[in-house]
Symmetry: C2
Subunit: 159 residues, 2 copies
DNA sequence: ACATCATTGTACAACGATGAACAAAAAGCA
DNA sequence: TGCTTTTTGTTCATCGTTGTACAATGATGT
């Protein structure tokens, strides 16, 4: 009931808000994870963006470039730049669809599948190592929060 | 004790691991948040990387480029590319240190301070809006998990 | 059938981020 | 003092990402 409270009850700065601090931590962790993954994938001569592509081709064989770009939250032009590289390296195959001559359907070659499995091994190991300090239920809480964020941001995006 | 269990007890795929799925959600949320923030900052003619710089100059007046780069987890060369732009726009000031003639000490101009406050308002609003679905205690859990990840990844980085 | 609009992939210029090589200044050490 | 090593910032070539403009194909409506 004196001066102390007056200064304590004001939250002028963003970094005093718990949600703000929380998000900054998320962003930095993400950045660090990307950098570390980049280093650990170096000897396979691929980078996180390539791995994202390969994993999705592994899961969804025959997907189109458009669908792939939407899953990865990147532009179509991005795929047009990266996919020919992977194709030249013999990791993926692109063949036109008979019914819709606009689309190119994507799939992994045997070499691509092998490389993807090696890379996923590395990524999984890195994630497990980084998250061993957090109990599974905390990971579930994190996942739920993140899914809510994704839903919120996607909703106002496609209006 | 028959065939069913044999296939069920194997977790071949990364996306079956809860920690893996959890991290994928983190990465996608981060990506989306960045894109949304980029759009909402557009009318101020700055992008998330610039805002990161400005906020740190707001908090830590007189910081050097090296210290700034370390806080942002980017290379020194990155700062050498971005800071001259902000200086030409009259948002920051760079002046040499008398005692150590190598370093440049950074500070915001009045115009830079004003712009930073506007931009922080936007970012804070976006974060609050995206996280309103998550109770504060969940945010704290998220923050703790992320700080652990950061600590883990930084530890093996600076060895 | 025809015109119009939407969708899919590409080409290109602009920009941010990186790592390596470099110059200048400081720090450590003989 | 003089020599080496470390630190700080810059420059440059390279690469991923974006947005825009474009061509080809498909879908829609009259």
């Amino acid at each position: 009931m004196n001066k102390k409270q007056v200064t304590a009850e004001h939250h002028h700065f963003p970094w005093d808000h718990p949600r703000f601090r929380s998000w900054i931590a998320v962003a930095r962790a993400c950045q660090l994870m990307q950098q570390t993954l980049t280093r650990e994938l170096a000897h396979l001569d691929i980078k996180p963006p390539h791995l994202d592509i390969l994993i999705n081709l592994y899961r969804f064989d025959g997907i189109t470039q458009q669908e792939l770009a939407r899953k990865l939250l990147v532009g179509r032009s991005n795929m047009s730049m990266l996919l020919p590289q992977l194709e030249k390296r013999g990791l993926i195959k692109r063949r036109g669809d008979a019914r819709d001559k606009r689309v190119l359907r994507l799939s992994l070659t045997p070499a691509g599948r092998t490389l993807t499995e090696e890379a996923m091994e590395i990524q999984t190991a890195l994630i497990e190592k980084s998250l061993t300090g957090s109990p599974i239920e905390d990971c579930m809480t994190v996942a739920q929060s993140m899914e809510r964020i994704i839903a919120t941001l996607l909703k106002e995006d496609g209006d």
